[in-house]
Symmetry: C2
Amino acid sequence: MLPIVKGILEGERRSLAKAISIIDNDERDSHRIIGEIFSKTGNAKIVGFTGSGGAGKSSLIGKLVPNFQALGYRVAVIAVDPTSPITGGAILGDRVRMQNAIDDNKVFMRSIASRGALGGVSKSLRNVIRILDAAGYDLVLVESVGAGQLEVEISKIVNLTAVVFTPNTGDNIQAVKAGLTEIGDLYIINKADIEGAMALFNSVLDLIGETERKPVVLKVSAKTGKGIRELATAIDKILRARTSNYKEKERKMLELELKDMVLNRIVQRAISMLNENDKYFLFVDELASKKIDPYQAAEKLAAVILK
Amino acid sequence: MLPIVKGILEGERRSLAKAISIIDNDERDSHRIIGEIFSKTGNAKIVGFTGSGGAGKSSLIGKLVPNFQALGYRVAVIAVDPTSPITGGAILGDRVRMQNAIDDNKVFMRSIASRGALGGVSKSLRNVIRILDAAGYDLVLVESVGAGQLEVEISKIVNLTAVVFTPNTGDNIQAVKAGLTEIGDLYIINKADIEGAMALFNSVLDLIGETERKPVVLKVSAKTGKGIRELATAIDKILRARTSNYKEKERKMLELELKDMVLNRIVQRAISMLNENDKYFLFVDELASKKIDPYQAAEKLAAVILK
């Protein structure tokens, strides 16, 4: 057993932090670490929080953590930071606000970067969760910003997705319609103390009320603390109610993960084969001189690579 | 020659609209249409406009079009609409505003949906541009919303990327840093008549001034029309200055496109092989019972598929 794995299993924070860096940077030891801890995983429940920047997700999570602890959970938080797809530089979000809210040594908190390809985040996130799971954290909260493909990816990894809306960040029916209606198990109207909260609450209720899944819609205020305990209880209740489905859901997740990993290896292999194959550049020449069209070229070149 | 191809080459609008639908929905005739028009393409210049929702891109494009026409261009506009990654339903943007601004039969305008996988948009967009190119449009303006992977994809397809910022949509240094500093050849501060425009202009200038590419930064107001003619002239100038590099850039784009198309075929093939291979589900069983870890399973299964 690697010394770092021993540290992880003992919940030693420095080992955890180091292991997460190794996973997040996809360093060589990733495979061995995951290989050695994998059999110890499968206990953690994972809750995703998503919504626009400024919806107050970090503060909300900060207030939820002690409530989850009161319910008996060992809580860890992972924030997925949006990064520039080119430079890979993470925007430093309002992590500080969350950190301030949680003055507690018992919580483990880390940001990971949503760099590059979408598949990259999923892979990193799945394995970071495994590290925390093996270390004994049984509730992992995953925060991400936005309403795009990334959130859909994350919703496939978590057991429950909470979507956070707030009246003052331009969230309106259009934003609500833009894709977050499908992924949420729970909708949270944050900043319920400010103007427009009730109207937004009603809009979300109307839109979501039509769907068959009938997700819970709740109003809270991270600032005043109103509704936070009820929210923690609601999440706990949903997680408990779903316990019977976990094995099935975990199998589905593993199926998807294995497919992603295999396809990734095949694509890497195909890229090397392409770059080393003279035919690739010959076809590009023929395309540039319009002697062949892209569909024909792709058909022929794929046949060469697949043969 | 397909009758629709004859219509395209004659610039007949109904044929154009129909051909674009066929391409955008990836219908069976896509291959044949592109195959038949491909040798007639390569004349259009393509300019991408990106920026947050509310930055006024549609109005700006609406005002630019007559100026480009005055410079001798036949102009077409493609708007890439953000869609829910799950339902595929497009948000109806402010196309109407653009349509109102351009009261001219000589412009061709179409929305395409940015559905599903990122690669899908690129493929659709490249081929829709080819249709317009073959129909004789020599300037294609592509509008898209956002600062994500999609815009990076689009920047690889266009000859010039213009990034639109505006003081009143929450654009600030952080937004500017979030990934749009790398893709722009031209930065436009729209709504230059409102408060905060000068500060934003200076910020962009500072941030971009540091970069080696030295892109142009301009203030305009689509509302008052101020600076619009100068913007059209600046874009025209950049396009003309780059003419010598087009062949090389087009080759690079074709190289990338061919790679995407070949990899796509290989992935489709690999997915079918996976779904039909019993070993896939056996490995999922072993993963679910923690007898094997994901890296080992992926390694072994990839070897089975690749053999």
